[in-house]
Structures are given as C-alpha cells and as structure tokens.
C-alpha cells in the first residue's frame, strides 16, 4: 500500500470511519437531544481528533458514554410523571420490605415448624430491617426525599451484607428482598426531586398490612394450631390448615396484588400504570417462587427442587426479575411505537 496512505481519498475514508464511530458513541444520548445537538457535537469531537485518527480516544469515549448516560437519566428524571412514579415506588418498596420482614417472626410462632425456628440473631436482624424499612417509608411519606434515598441505599447495603455473612431469613425471601431493595434504592434516587407525596396514609398502611400477609401466613396457621396432651406427652398437634399452606400463599399474594392495584389506581393514571409496570417483576417473581417451591421458604412444601438448584438461587431469582422487567420495557416500547404509527409496529 506504499504511497496510497496519504492520498485525499484515504484521508476521507479515515475521517468517515472516525465519524461513524463517534456517531455510535453519541447514540448514548437520548434521541431528542441527539436530534438537536448531534451534528454540532460531532463537529467538535472530530475537530479535537488528530490527523489520521481512526478511533476516538479512550478519555473522549468514556466521557461521551458517561455524559450520554447521565443525560438520559437526567431526561428521565426531569419528566414529572417519572419522578412521581419513582416517588410512589420509593414508598411502596420499603413498605413491602417491612411487610416481608414479618416472615422469620411468624415462623417462630409455629409449633408445627419448630424444627426451622429462626435463630435469635436472624430474628433480631429481621426486626431491625423491618423497622429500618418502615423509617425509610416514613421519610418518603414526609417528603424527606434525600433522607429516604440515603436510607434506601443503606438498607440495600445491609441486606447484601446480611446475605454475605449468612444472617438471612430463609433463602428465597432474602432474594426477593434484595430485588425489592434494588428497585427501592433506584426509585428513591429518582424521587429526590419529586414534589408531592404520591400515596395517602391509608393506602400506605393497606399496602404494608397486605405485604405482611404474604410471609405472615405462618402466623395464621400457628394461631389456629392446637397442642393437646397430658404433662409429659404424648402430645397431639392439630392444625386445621395443615396441607393448605400452598394455596394460602396464592390467596395472600392475590390480596396483595389487589391492594397494590387499588393503591396504583388512586394515583394519576399515567403514574399508576408505570408503578404497576415496575411492580410486575417483583410480584411475578414472588408468584413464580411460591408456585415453584410451594412457599417462600424452600424447606417447606418442596416441589421441583433439584439439589443443585439451591446454589444458583441468587442468580436465577435476580436474573428472572431483571428478565421480566426487561420484557416489560420491550413490550411497553413496542406498544408505544404501535400507538405512534397508528396500529402498525414500526421496524426497529
């Protein structure tokens, strides 16, 4: 290729390659921002480049990616509907988490499940986390958004730390908690600049009470269980709900979904729809787990549980939640495109 590298044609090819690569980097910015600024930014980026440069510099690449991502996030949070959605989820999330912390407490009430009675440190950790999430929700209800965001991230960190050191309340409950914690922490950040309290106090109490029903089924069964017999035994344990715990989950979860739907219905329709979409992964994941394992604790009512499955629980549960969430986003985008194009799905 001697002599060919310095020709004007070669120079134009190099410039086109570099321009194409910069355009790909600028794709990190939102579409409306690109429409207004891409040409101009491209001009600056190309002018900054050295003669014959084929690839964007590393620093420029990282800067454009981060700036574009920040712009996307900022654009999202400038939208009042999204801000209000985040504010609602930032309150509903901690309420659900506070409700879920009931589980280890109620299990200890059950005489029939005495063998899986929670160790004291687990019970103490659950009480502490339940109280913490209640405070986070309270901060959100009182419009202390920064405090709520800091509390949500601290709560998520505590959940991860508890999982790491093995102080956890039963495998799957914790994974659902972690997914809810991630959702809550992200929403709390997005809600920092929200203006209004999205939920009424009555709705907040209803959501939390119903959230406590799902893991609190054990308390119901425990309350109805009777133990009879002379001192020294033999004892007779009678549980009218024995064998019925599988559908108890379904009933409790259905009530929770109904209350969440009602709570979302009290919000503005656009906000309520988005809150519902964000809650779908969490509710669907909990439903799948309840159906699959027959409950939120894998030692109770096992179904379809290969031993190796235990080791991939965290990955599978979180991946399932993220997957369901992404599927929701894709379905939502397709629906929006169909709406824009008058009933036909445009090519991607």
């Amino acid at each position: 290729v001697s002599g060919g590298e310095d020709t004007p044609q070669r120079g134009r090819d190099v410039a086109e390659v570099l321009e194409r690569r910069y355009r790909k980097l600028l794709a990190w910015y939102p579409a409306d921002y690109r429409a207004a600024n891409e040409d101009e930014m491209l001009g600056v980026a190309l002018a900054r480049a050295r003669e014959g440069q084929r690839w964007p510099e590393f620093g420029e690449t990282a800067n454009l990616i981060l700036s574009g991502a920040r712009r996307r996030l900022g654009a999202g949070l400038r939208n009042p509907v999204r801000r209000d959605t985040a504010a609602a989820v930032a309150i509903i999330g901690p309420l659900l988490l506070a409700g879920a912390s009931v589980w280890p407490l109620t299990v200890s009430l059950q005489t029939t499940f005495v063998l899986i009675r929670m160790p004291n440190r687990v019970t103490a950790a659950a009480i502490a986390m339940g109280g913490w999430w209640l405070l986070v929700a309270l901060a959100g209800m009182l419009n202390r958004r920064r405090l709520a965001a800091a509390g949500a991230w601290a709560g998520l960190a505590a959940l991860l730390a508890l999982a790491d050191v093995g102080v956890a309340w039963g495998g799957l409950v914790l994974y659902v908690d972690i997914l809810a914690g991630v959702l809550t922490a992200a929403a709390a950040l997005g809600a920092v600049r929200a203006d209004v309290r999205p939920l009424s106090w009555r709705a907040a109490v209803a959501v939390m009470a119903c959230a406590a029903m799902v893991p609190g089924w054990a308390a119901v069964q425990g309350a109805l269980t009777t133990v009879q017999g002379p001192p020294g035994g033999p004892w007779t344990i009678s549980s009218p709900l024995s064998g019925a715990y599988l559908w108890w989950f379904d009933v409790a979860l259905a009530v929770l979904v109904a209350v969440l739907t009602a709570a979302a219905g009290w919000l503005r329709p656009a906000v309520g729809r988005r809150v519902g979409a964000l809650m779908v992964p969490l509710v669907a994941l909990t439903a799948v787990i309840c159906w699959w394992y027959g409950g939120l604790y894998p030692d109770v009512g096992l179904r379809m549980l290969p031993s190796a499955w235990f080791w991939i629980d965290p990955a599978v549960t979180v991946a399932a939640g993220v997957g369901i969430g992404l599927a929701g986003v894709i379905v939502g985008k397709r629906a929006r495109r169909r709406h824009r194009h008058g009933g036909t799905v445009a090519d991607a």
């Binding site: 600024n37 040409d39 101009e40 930014m41 491209l42 001009g43 600056v44 980026a45 002018a47 900054r48 620093g59 420029e60 800067n63 454009l64 981060l66 700036s67 574009g68 920040r70 712009r71």
Partner: protein, 111 residues
C-alpha cells in the same frame, strides 16, 4: 461555579464562540491545564443555558455541518463578575496570610 463552567463563561466574555473555539480558548485561558471533552463541554453549556447565563447567538453551516455560536447573557456576565470577585478575594486572603507566614517562618518559602 465549577472550574469548567467558570472557564467557559470567561471564554465567552471575549466574544460569541462555537463549540470547538470554546475548547481551544479554554486551553489558552487555563494555560494548557484544562482541555474540555466534548461531553463535558455540552453538559456545561446545557447547564449554563438552563440557568440563563449563556444563550445561542447565531448558527451557521460550515462544510454541511451545523455550527452554533454561544454568547454570554447579561445574567452570565454578572455571575462571572461575582465569581471572579469572590475568587479574587479568596486569593488575596491566601496571599496575605502566606506573606505573614513567610515573615514568621522564613523557611516557609517566598511568594
């Protein structure tokens, strides 16, 4: 004001400029210490425009590419003057104290 924003306002205090001219002028003003990345430059311009400190002066097409010129607004000039004054007062205080320190402890260096 963070340093990139201060430098962009300072550059625009001279005359309206387009994006790349701003990058070059900021390099000159900062004596080569600050070379703004494209993403940073436009993030700064966006913030300054939202705050009403900078506005688009005019646009032109050069080599079939849009070139937008930015200019300092009245509010931008006031903000820059206030910021420069604040920095000058801080710098004066630092210089005064360093002189006093030099008097007390000659080994502390000279100004």
């Amino acid at each position: 004001l963070q340093e990139p924003a201060f430098l962009v306002l300072t550059a625009l205090a001279g005359e309206p400029m387009h994006g790349y001219a701003l990058v070059q002028d900021v390099v000159r003003i900062s004596e080569g210490r600050v070379r703004l990345h494209t993403g940073t430059l436009y993030a700064v311009l966006d913030r300054l425009r939202e705050a009403g400190l900078v506005d688009v002066d005019h646009e032109e097409i050069v080599e079939s590419r849009l070139r937008r010129y930015y200019a300092l607004t009245g509010a931008g000039a006031e903000r820059l003057a206030a910021e420069a004054d604040r920095m000058q007062r801080n710098a004066s205080a630092a210089v005064t104290r360093l002189r006093a320190l030099r008097t007390l402890r000659p080994e502390a260096g000279t100004l």
